[in-house]
């Protein structure tokens, strides 16, 4: 599949029809997604109808918008009106939301074609997409490996070439880590930059929607369409979002890059080597590259695995068998609630709900939850200090290349370690992006991560663009 930029240009000029692009994408999904399992729902008729509407606009001399005819895959925790939205959970199996998420509406207005809903770890809890109630997604680069998670279906859909773009959500790394493992670009915008209206909540102080793409330019294109204030989301920032596409090619001359050992040292040797190589590439492109130490990041993982479950235990209280989704009937309401939740939630979701309930319970609130929130303050202050000397930070995205299906799923703590490099940006609400940068000793993709201060998406993507153009094209050296 071509880039989103190329598809949109061809469709807008009438050189290709959106229907032709969509039909080709659907045929490809039919042919290959039995193996990958990126999609939970393929929107065949709906996608063709949207494509026809785009073509009709072009035929009438209009402009369908910057995403004209581009096939886009949506993570299945984004509400789509009248279209099944499961969050990878049996408890929402068959649920048809009565409204569209704001981002879904924005994509449609820009001419995008929603190709389907992608697989994910149940309620976005996981780092491998193995926690989906509907079976795992496989990594397109090696189908015995996981695609990462929780947005594994969205990462795989782009890596496999089913869709030019996709949307994911990132609470502790759920866009960036699968992007790294699948060899695509994945970006988490600043907290509040992209509306979350219609994103099913996991941990509300951390969740953020963001783009997957095969190129940095495509990620910028999709981000620009989505960024901006939305009165329907009370945490949406009421500030303008400057175009990132316009400054994408401005380079990194004079930009101060902090190579953060705390986001590198715990990683596998092949990952560390790639990050080092990325640092050298930025230096060669004119950036001022120096090492920086932010030891406070080491506490991020523990804080995250108290804060996120605590918020999840509260957010997921709404699944009670009353208003939507599964109900297991019983004599009285409390027994019905318990029976429904017991049957509807998978093991990882139960673990996190219990962990969060425990961290919030009497006697433990101060020791765990309030303490984790103080660590959050500590991490935010550490970032502020680092950004007095640096414009961006550079680190690894994930500690290793893609691991095997089944390898970590029985050891929650080992699975959680996958998020160690991505969590700090979520705690601070900062933007960060994973850029493919060569492969590891096993030939699988490696991603390097760029981190920037709040609202600095334009700079973030400029740096990512330089890394993309300097990325090794293959081999492990």
């Amino acid at each position: 599949m071509s880039t989103a930029r190329a598809i949109a240009a061809a469709v807008r000029s009438g050189e290709r029809s959106a229907r032709e692009v969509t039909e080709a994408a659907l045929a490809d999904v039919d042919a290959r997604d039995d193996t990958i399992h990126a999609f939970l729902t393929v929107l065949r008729d709906e996608a063709l109808a949207e494509a026809d509407a785009v073509d009709a606009t072009v035929a009438a001399g209009g402009d369908p918008g910057p995403l004209a005819g581009v096939p886009i895959a949506l993570k299945d925790n984004l509400c789509t009106r009248g279209i099944v939205t499961t969050c990878g959970s049996k408890i929402l199996d068959g649920w048809r939301p009565p409204y569209d998420a704001t981002v879904v509406e924005l994509l449609r207005r820009a001419g995008g074609v929603a190709l389907g809903k992608t697989n994910m770890d149940e309620f976005a809890m996981g780092s491998s997409t193995e926690n989906s109630a509907f079976g795992p997604t496989r990594n397109p680069h090696d189908t015995d490996k996981v695609p990462g998670g929780s947005s594994g279906g969205s990462a795989a859909a782009v890596a496999a070439g089913f869709a030019a773009l996709s949307l994911g959500s990132d609470t502790g790394g759920s866009i960036r880590q699968p992007a790294a493992l699948c060899g695509v670009v994945g970006m988490k915008p600043t907290y509040g930059r992209v509306s979350r209206y219609g994103l099913v909540a996991f941990a509300s102080s951390l969740d953020q929607i963001g783009p997957f793409a095969r190129t940095v330019e495509d990620a910028a294109l999709l981000y620009d369409v989505m960024a901006g204030h939305d009165p329907l989301d009370s945490t949406s920032l009421p500030v303008d979002a400057p175009s990132t596409l316009e400054t994408l090619e401005h380079g990194v001359e004079g930009i101060r890059v902090g190579v953060c050992g705390d986001l590198i040292d715990g990683c596998a040797p092949d990952v560390r080597a790639r990050v080092q190589q990325a640092a050298e590439a930025l230096s060669a492109a004119g950036a001022k590259v120096e090492e920086v130490s932010v030891p406070e990041f080491a506490f991020g993982l523990s804080a995250y695995y108290l804060i996120a479950p605590a918020e999840a235990s509260s957010n997921l209280a709404r699944y009670d068998g009353v208003r939507y989704g599964l109900r297991i009937d019983a004599e009285d309401a409390a027994t019905m609630n318990t029976a429904t939740r017991t049957a509807g939630f998978g093991d990882e979701v139960k673990r996190r709900i219990m962990l969060g309930t425990y961290a919030l319970s009497a006697g433990y609130y101060d020791a765990y939850y309030a303490q984790a929130q103080r660590v959050r303050t500590l991490v935010m202050q550490a970032f502020d200090r680092a950004y007095t000397s640096f414009d961006v930070l550079l680190g690894a995205t994930a500690p290793s290349t893609a691991f095997g299906i089944g390898e970590l799923v029985d050891d929650p703590m080992a699975m959680y370690m996958n998020d160690i490099c991505t969590i700090p940006s979520n705690l601070a609400g900062h933007p960060a992006v994973s850029v493919p940068f060569g492969t590891g000793d096993d030939g699988l993709p490696i991603g390097v991560q760029v981190l920037a201060p709040a609202l600095a998406e334009a700079l973030l993507l400029r740096v990512a663009r330089v890394l993309e153009s300097a990325a090794p094209t293959g081999g492990s050296q």
Partner: protein, 105 residues
């Protein structure tokens, strides 16, 4: 809630109590499994619990969160029929639930 000497300080009784609070029913095997797994996560969190951070304020959000108000102008809500269509059980334009009362845990 009972204490424990297990790593992370989480006992089987704690897990069973938390499951009741969270409205989850666990099998004997699940109690066993979750006690071990949650203890291992809490053991990792011991690094954070041990820090002296009394000089820092807790942060609930990465950005200051304030109440957001809009003009009090009537506007259409979600379509009632569409919302109720998603419910497991409905009666007279309302969500229908089994008997409530006398069952609090």
């Amino acid at each position: 809630m009972s204490g424990s000497n297990e790593p992370g300080g989480l006992s089987r009784d704690d897990v069973m109590h938390v499951a009741v609070l969270a409205r989850l029913e666990l099998s004997e095997d699940e109690v066993e499994l979750f006690t071990a797994q949650l203890s291992s996560v809490l053991a990792h969190a011991a690094d954070v619990a041990a820090l002296d951070l009394s000089h820092l304020e807790p942060s609930s959000h990465p950005i200051p969160v304030e109440n957001v108000l809009r003009p009090d102008v009537p506007r259409p809500s979600l379509d009632r029929a569409e919302v109720l269509a998603a419910a497991p059980s409905v009666e007279d334009d309302r969500f229908r639930v089994p008997r409530i009362g006398g069952e609090a845990p």
